[in-house]
């Protein structure tokens, strides 16, 4: 939070509250953004930063399609105002791959059939990443609990659970040094 407080001096809105300016870190890159002050973080990402991987689903915080990581924690970006994100560190689905290589989680989702239409996938991937970051070997029940705010209408969730489990195993192997560097 200290970093965010320090960075906040970059931010602000104009006298009528119409446009806002913030500096935030998105997928590891620092960005200055000037945008319409009413916009949600979701709109800011999609419309002002061209990061369209994060999806609209309901605009009311009901479906989880817009989930991103804000300072490492999953949030519903449709419920976060862009102006609240001055100094924040945001991770979206575009930030998960390591260069051209899929992350272990992405590879597992691809292999296990965890993405059918793919519309809920970005939100589920970042939510699952947050889970694995704090709990590298979650049980099936813990996975189901962590993803219970992300609706998927295609898969029936089971292949998503399996993908997260697969990634947890793969992640462990990678940490033992058999994966690619960096």
């Amino acid at each position: 939070m200290k970093a965010r407080t320090e960075a906040r001096r970059h931010g602000g809105t104009d006298a009528e509250g119409r446009s806002a300016r913030i500096r935030l870190t998105v997928n590891g890159e620092e960005r200055d953004v000037v945008f319409a002050g009413y916009k949600s973080l979701l709109e800011l990402l999609r419309e002002d930063l061209a990061l369209t991987g994060t999806k609209h689903g309901c605009e009311l915080g009901e479906c989880g399609a817009c989930a991103v990581l804000l300072d490492g924690r999953p949030v519903l970006s449709c419920l976060v105002l862009g102006v609240e994100c001055d100094g924040a560190d945001v991770t979206t689905v575009e930030g998960l791959a390591e260069g051209p290589e899929l992350s272990a989680l992405q590879a597992a989702f691809a292999d296990k059939g965890a993405a059918q239409c793919g519309y809920c996938t970005p939100g589920i991937l970042v939510t699952a990443k947050a889970l694995l970051d704090r709990n590298p070997h979650p049980s099936r029940a813990e996975i189901a609990e962590a993803l219970s705010g992300n609706l998927c209408r295609c898969t029936g969730y089971l292949q998503i659970f399996e993908a997260v489990e697969e990634a947890a195993g793969t992640g462990a192997r990678r940490h033992r040094g058999t994966g690619r560097a960096g």
Partner: protein, 821 residues
Amino acid sequence: MKVIGQPRRRVDARAKVTGQTRFADDLVLPRMLFARLLRSTVPHARIRAVDAAAAAAAPGVKLLLTGADFPVPFGIMPVSQDEHALCADKVRYVGDPVAAVIARSEREAADALALIRVDYEPLATVASPAEALERPAPRIHDGEGEGGNVHRLAHFAFGDVEPALAGADRVFEDLFFYEGNTHLPLEQHAAVAALDPDGRLTLWSSTQTPHYVHRELARALDLPAHRIRVVATPNGGGFGGKSDVMNHEIVVAKAALLTGRPVKITLTREEVFYAHRGRHPVLMRLKTGVKSDGTIVAMDLETLLDGGAYGSYGAASTLYTGQLQTVTYHVPRFRFRACRTFTNKPPCGPKRGHGTPQPRFAQEVQLDKIAVALGKDPADLRLQQLAPANSVTANWLKIGSMGLRECIERVVEGSAWRERRGRLGVGRGLGLACGSYLCGAGLPIYWNEMPHSGVQLQIDRSGRVTAFCGATEIGQGSDDVLAAIVAEVLGLDPADIRLVTGDTDLTPVDLGSYSSRVTLMMGNAAIQAAERAKALLAGAAARKLGVSAERLAFAERRVFDVERPEAGMSFQEAVVAAEAEHGTLGTTGSYRPPRSPARYRGGGVGPSVAYSYTAAVVEVEVDPLTGWVKVPKVWIAHDIGRAINPVLARGQVEGSVYMGLGEALMEEQAFRRLPPRLSPALVHRIPSILEYKSPTSLEMPDVVTYLVEDPDSAGPFGAKEVGQGPLLPMMPAIANAIHDAVGVRVDEVPITPEKVLKALTEKAKGKAGRVGPAVFPPVPWPEALVVPPPWEGGDGRATNQGAAARDTLPTTHSGTAGVKV
């Protein structure tokens, strides 16, 4: 086989897990404008006037459209051309679009909507089919349907059921009600229209049916179809909800033509509930006569559909509430009467299973009652009377392969059904049900003799193979099926195949992702195109290698002599040889299903070249204090013929289990009537995801999936459908399991805790312990169309003119777009 049947990463997986799949709302074009629709706030009214002057002058507004801008009606079915992109004279449901604002930003468009004043003259509303039958006036549609507020009526007699019922040992009669529900795709409908540099119109849309959208756009905009390009963007879930032509697609197309700028629209979640086209609420009366051993001798089914405010696919939906009843179990005589009414609610249409889950629920629950009454095992009752493979049903549907016996045996064994059913103690139970579904509708929705699906292959000297097909990726994996089939034939890896799909400018026509038709129809077209390419390559390679082409095999990106695998060349070298010999290489393939033996009017709904079969056993836990139903485990076996990619096939089965669970226990597209003194409005009770209850990851049961592979000669590599059929047994299996658990019958979907508790309370008082409909309103059934079954000397034709299914479907109406007959 190297590809078919192997579990693989789907070809479009990388795009999906990196967020690079470009959905319609992700498209951004220079100078793009944004559209929003003003939707009716009243359920039924004449529009006296629309005052849009203030909105037109509002900041950022570039264009304002009203019903006057859209004089030409449209509709997905030639017999139901009853919609306008914006309403001009009347609104028919809360949510019916009246005006559109096109502005610099979505927000400016939304702000301007608030400035439009619509002067409505309210009309009496129709809330239900019963009201529609009671009140022929005011009519929701003048000049549409069967008179009054009845949209469709049908009456078929496939053999005379009356003497058969009279002679039956037992007759079971039940009323069932299946509430409507909606698709709830996570992606809200979106579309972008733009003029290309040559002045032609392009529409990108999250549609399952770009070909039909293309046709209707040409009609509604009065433009030659060849001046219009429709691109189906990958759908973020469809489930049938994006298979209709939608108002907003026509609005943005018109707006792009008038402004010369790209125009985008994305529906809000609330608007998606109004766009609907979802599951019809259906009231059913099912009367079945059986022998003392439970064998069916005759079935008499009446269905009453709540169609909502427009025709949509309703003419077909109406017939689907009965026509597939005969392909699961042998039904020697079948009477089917169906009525669809208009009501002042969002239009209903096709949702996964299209019209068939409702009567399937009725029959499977009734079979359970019959088994209990006769003291039989419900699995045995079904096994003793399966519809035979390679047979023709009473209503002239031709069945090919039929793997239901093995499906039942697998789930019975897996669930230890025979040991555990009825013995799990109070509050726990097992239920079994089955189902069957089309592998593609046998006829297109507008009559023609052209292919239902076409595939083109283009191959060049780099070794590149590109497959072009109009099929639409809605998440089900149609792109993967196309790549897999071409790769299998040509000995390549699916990832080697470039794909261009769902684009009316670039790809041959495929009718769309509906009726579970794509794997079978596109797959057969792809095999034909790939075999033709293989022949060109094999001929050229054979001449180079000095062996006969018959001895050549295509595998692992090589073309080689099967008897001397070292004698061969790379796939690319074979392409070079063929291009040198034949010039530029390209092949086509196409598929049209064979003609159905059904020759009667209305017989166009139901035929398919193959049917899939499914059996499921569901375990439930019912809390007798609260009526709460939990589903811990499901065993489901699906006769898929052949799984092209078992990872995806399993995903379709599990997704169907999930969706069926939602339909069975919680999902409902329900409406409420405001107090008449306040407003006549019928309003959607729950137009938000939070209030429209659907299962989350926490409700999902363990699922044991069995893919039964009994290849069907009509399918590509034997494949049948898997996207819809596995949904069908879920709802009745849950209802039957609840009976096994606590001895009550809920003859209604969804089976909410309130209903379970009510049934338990009644049972405790010594009553029947049943919750369900009690009355089937009188319907003015027309004279029956009499069609003798094959075993009664029939030839597939009706023996009288009848009144059934007047001008219903492709067999009777003109092939010309938009001609109403």
